[in-house]
Structures are given as structure tokens and as C-alpha cells.
């Protein structure tokens, strides 16, 4: 969901990213016919991915964050196809083996959704996933933004 990183601040434990909603997608065919909207679950996933990249950076890319809990998710406005989204997340609490973040998405300067997210931190379960994540981190420019 994340197309690129705008800013990463490891001291403040925050991240800003951008996400472009495609103009067309099979998702929109059913959600909804004649009134395409980005499903709330995908907005939550977008916030989770931004948070995940932040956590990867804060843990030196050594552990994989897995979304464990979503709280107080508020879907404030509809998001249409072709929307340019500004996604931000910051660390709320770092526990032992888990992390909590607060994330939100803005569209055209207006907050469209926000949520409190909890992640479990685990070793990468496979080398393939680890390689994929490191490739993705390079692709979105995460390391170069710190």
C-alpha cells in the first residue's frame, strides 16, 4: 500500500509516507457499484504498513512486526479512487516483544482515518520474507530518509 517514504525520524520515532490509491481496482467493483470507495480495512492496512516500516527502522531491520490489534479505528471520511494519501505513524509504547503505534491518514489536508495499532515483534520466520522486506525497504526509500 505504501508507495514511498517522505520522512523518517528515529529520534522522535515517527514516519511519514505516501500512498496512491489506484484509479481502478477489482476492489472497487463491489465496494461499491457506482460509488467506488477504498474499504476501511485497506485504510487500516495502510496505517499498519506505515507503522510496520517505522518499527522495522527502529529495530534496525532485525525483527518483523506483525499486526496484532486495532483499537479505536475511526474512518472519518470516504476515500475515492486516485486519491493521494499522506500516512503518518508514531511510536506510542515500546514493550518487550510488542510495540504500539498511533497512525493516521490525511487526504487533501483532511484527516480521513486514524487508529491505535499493536504489533508483535518476531524474528523473520523465513529468509524469503526477510529478503522481500529488505527489498521493499530499498524500493520505498526507507533507509535513505533517516
Amino acid at each position: 500500500m505504501i508507495d514511498g517514504i517522505e520522512a523518517l525520524n528515529t529520534d522522535k520515532a515517527s514516519i511519514s509516507a505516501r500512498a496512491h490509491v489506484p484509479g481502478q481496482s477489482p476492489v472497487f467493483e463491489g465496494h461499491f457499484p457506482g460509488h467506488p470507495l477504498v474499504p476501511g480495512v485497506l485504510l487500516i492496512e495502510t496505517m499498519a504498513q506505515a507503522s510496520g516500516y517505522l518499527i522495522l527502522a527502529l529495530t534496525a531491520y532485525k525483527t518483523m512486526p506483525f499486526l496484532a490489534s486495532v483499537k479505536d479505528a475511526k474512518l472519518r471520511s470516504f476515500v475515492p479512487p486516485d486519491a493521494e494519501l499522506a500516512v503518518t505513524a508514531h511510536l506510542d509504547h515500546e514493550g518487550s516483544g510488542y510495540v504500539m503505534t498511533k497512525a493516521h491518514i490525511h487526504h487533501e489536508g483532511k484527516k480521513v482515518c486514524d487508529a491505535h495499532l499493536t504489533f508483535r515483534l518476531m524474528p523473520f520466520p523465513s529468509k524469503e520474507l526477510e529478503r522481500h522486506m529488505l527489498d521493499q525497504i530499498e524500493f520505498i526509500g526507507l533507509k535513505s530518509k533517516n
Partner: protein, 93 residues
């Protein structure tokens, strides 16, 4: 320990929607109170904040999975509270 127990019991009751009277020092959080590992993340967060500590949940989990500790060592309420007291004392020293 009694203040610690009262605080932790209140956290568990609030977080996991368990009646306070069902939580005793002899309660096993996992086996008696039905709290799973996901529920315990929220509980650990609240305990971390209340006591200014960081419960070493990852380490406890590793020890349990490796068979080096029993569930009751960490999740029996009186043992959990004792661990919290140790962590809080270490923070204050």
C-alpha cells in the same frame, strides 16, 4: 505486594472484562482467567505504564517455549506481582 496485586487485578479486570472478585493471588492469568497472549499485550502495556517498568514479556515467552519455565512462574497472580515488584525496585535503585 497487596497494593501491587490490587493494581494488577484492577488492570486485568478492566482490560479483559473479568469480574474483580474472580481474580485472586492464586489465579493463573492464562489458565484460570482465560487470558491469551494477545490479551496479555494490553495488560502488559497497562502494567508497564502503571509501574514505570517494562515487563520482559519476550524473555518470559522464550523461556516458556523452551521449557525453562512454567506458566505459573510468571502468570500466577502472586508470582506476577512479585516479578512486578522486583522490576519496580530495580528501576528505583
Amino acid at each position: 505486594m497487596s497494593n501491587t496485586f490490587e493494581t494488577v487485578a484492577a488492570i486485568i479486570s478492566e482490560t479483559s472484562d473479568i469480574p474483580l472478585e474472580e481474580i485472586t493471588p492464586e489465579s493463573n492469568a492464562m489458565e484460570d482467567l482465560g487470558i491469551d497472549s494477545l490479551d496479555f499485550l494490553d495488560i502488559a502495556f497497562a502494567i508497564d505504564k502503571a509501574f514505570g517498568i517494562k515487563i520482559p514479556l519476550a524473555g518470559w515467552t522464550e523461556e516458556l517455549q523452551a521449557g525453562k519455565a512454567r506458566v505459573e512462574d510468571y502468570f500466577l497472580m502472586k508470582n506476577l506481582c512479585a516479578k512486578i515488584d522486583e522490576l519496580a525496585a530495580a528501576n528505583n535503585s
